[in-house]
């Protein structure tokens, strides 16, 4: 097998290679500032932090591949965290075991509602998920009584999010690996995955080809909601409790990570390797800017400029022609 075919097979196309190239450039630039940036310990810590973003981005990618977008991610993250931590208080000791599945299930439920709105009401996903985000926010404000709740994360959440069980590798990384493998399997080995790409390219054609497009839409939104809630559960484990608006800083980085990884924001094109690269890129960028004690103002400007700059390198659309 020649090199081109091999890279094609694992999805190493131009955007992905540019993204990985940028990761190396960032690390080298960082190491000029401090050799710490190339230490194994620092890299593992970044991957642990990046795992939360990675899980959210996995779900966001499934929806973006359809040509849709999920703006309800921020409060679905918070919902997952709050429901999982609150369950113990509601049903007693059994809640310890059910906490994580319950949180994920709540997120999936919101995702199904999003999917129903987009599939059957045919509302633009951008506006429907936006409304859903406001509704979930309202529910969570009501749930906590307007204050940060005192519910604490269970040991299992803490174990998954913070502990390092095998060879000093953070458990969160294994969780991301697990979610990532599910996405790769779905996209590459199942009819569902082919349907996702088909709908992203042209939904009417997918429909005429006999694909149950509405079921695929609902499935992807449910997966996205579940991923967001799962990340919320882990974040609650990471910071030992759930609090209001904990998901707000994750929406834009998740979308940016997916798009920087070469997934077309209009759907139909993209692979998971790119999303991994995008997540690591965003995480490293955020980390290095904060280590360099760049003020927030400069961070935002650099953050936005890097996204524009990278997309100008490889994300340009076609010219309008006859």
């Amino acid at each position: 097998m020649n090199v081109a075919a091999a890279t094609q097979k694992i999805g190493l196309d131009v955007p992905v290679m540019v993204a990985f190239g940028c990761i190396i450039v960032i690390l080298l630039a960082g190491s000029l500032y401090s050799p710490e940036f190339l230490s194994l310990d620092y890299l593992l810590q970044q991957l642990q932090v990046g795992a939360f973003l990675g899980i959210i981005a996995s779900g966001a990618m499934m929806v973006i591949l359809l040509g849709h977008i999920d703006l309800s991610i921020p409060w679905t993250v918070t919902l997952g965290a709050m429901m999982a931590t609150a369950l113990g208080g509601w049903i007693g000791p059994a809640g310890v075991w059910l906490a994580i599945p319950f949180g994920v299930l709540c997120g999936a439920f919101i995702g199904v509602l999003n999917g129903l709105g987009v599939a059957y009401l045919r509302l633009p996903s951008m506006i429907f998920t936006l409304g859903m985000n406001a509704v979930v926010q309202g529910l969570m404000v009501l749930h906590t009584g307007g204050f940060a709740p005192q519910d604490h994360a269970t040991d299992a959440m803490h174990f998954l999010a913070v502990k390092r069980s095998i060879l000093g590798i953070p458990n969160a990384l294994f969780v991301w690996l697990f979610v990532g493998l599910i996405v790769i399997f779905l996209l590459r080995r199942t009819a569902f995955g082919r349907a996702v790409y088909a709908i992203g390219n042209r939904e009417s054609v997918a429909y005429l080809s006999g694909i149950n497009t509405n079921a695929v839409l609902i499935g992807c939104f449910a997966f996205c909601g579940a991923c967001a809630a799962f990340a919320g559960v882990l974040l609650a484990g990471y910071s030992t409790k759930a609090y209001q608006a904990m998901g707000d800083p994750y929406l834009l980085p998740a979308i940016a990570a997916v798009v920087l990884g070469g997934t077309n924001i209009l759907g139909g094109r993209g692979n998971y390797l790119g999303t991994i690269a995008g997540v690591i890129l965003i995480t490293l960028l955020q980390s290095i800017l904060s280590v360099m004690q760049m003020p927030e103002a400069g961070r935002q400007v650099i953050y936005g400029s890097v996204i524009i700059g990278m997309l100008l390198l490889y994300g340009r659309g076609a010219r309008t022609r006859s």
């Binding site: 309202g138 996204i307 524009i308």
Partner: protein, 326 residues
Amino acid sequence: MSDWRYHISHNLGTLTAVGLFAVMFTIYISNHEAGLTPAVATTAANKAVLLALVAMAQTIPVLTRGLDLSVGSVFVLANCLASAIVVGTIGQGLLGCVAVLLLGIVCGFVNGAIVVWGRLQPIITTLATGAIFYGIALWIRPTPGGDVQYDIADFVAGQLFGVVPTALVVLLLVVLLVWIPYRSSPLGRGAYAVGSNEQAAYMSGVPVEKAKIAAYTLAGFLASLGGLILTFNTYSGEASAAIGGTYTLNSIAAVVIGGTSLFGGWGSAIGSIFGAFVLRTIEDLLFVFDLPPLWQPLFQGVVLLVAISLGAIRVFRIRNRLELFT
């Protein structure tokens, strides 16, 4: 179809928003203990005009089948800059106002240039430029504060002849002097044409690139005008990501409630103004009906979701299922 029926069906979205607003505002006023006094009207108008301007800004890129997620950031950036340079004598203050609006135009032009010449998707472009504009706002004003020229501020936030809220007059002037001329200009017609079918517009000789750049530039101008008026209301500047995000998201909701299609080519900024008024009146209604504060976010969210779900009515009018997918 006779002429007036055509006009009604063409402007149905706007008319629905106007009707919704009229009903809600009547309920609000009849339950307000003071009734419709100039002071009550001015307070309501000052809040509503801010969102109305940002919603108008959002409408124009949406008409071209684009989107501007940076309107909130431009709004905040204009607020921060105005709190720094609209000071001194009235003359200096007015010069500062011009500078703030120029900055908004530049921000909008940058968006348009990246979308047209850089050929990037509007969503992701304006997401990124939004971060940049917010960063600049934070650089101008790291902590909330600043000042504003009081004479201009009191004039704009007050009433004309002691009756009419000046902010409403400003909004009316924007509609008459900016929106209506723009709408009937080649650039405005081009924006509708591009939104409806870019290829066909290109083939018909519509200046596609110019129309798109003009749309984003005008959006930047209107958003910065909103930010300027915010400064006149608050007498200070604040670089708050939350304010920017709320205004961006509410502007999209206002556009949808005002009957503009997110798929482009259909709608009007006047509808968006009333969409914004509807959203603001919802908040005021919660206030006069004394809903427990804890329930307010949920109630607002549900009303928002129901309002945008009204757009699903078109599903029931479609005869050919394939039309669902456009």
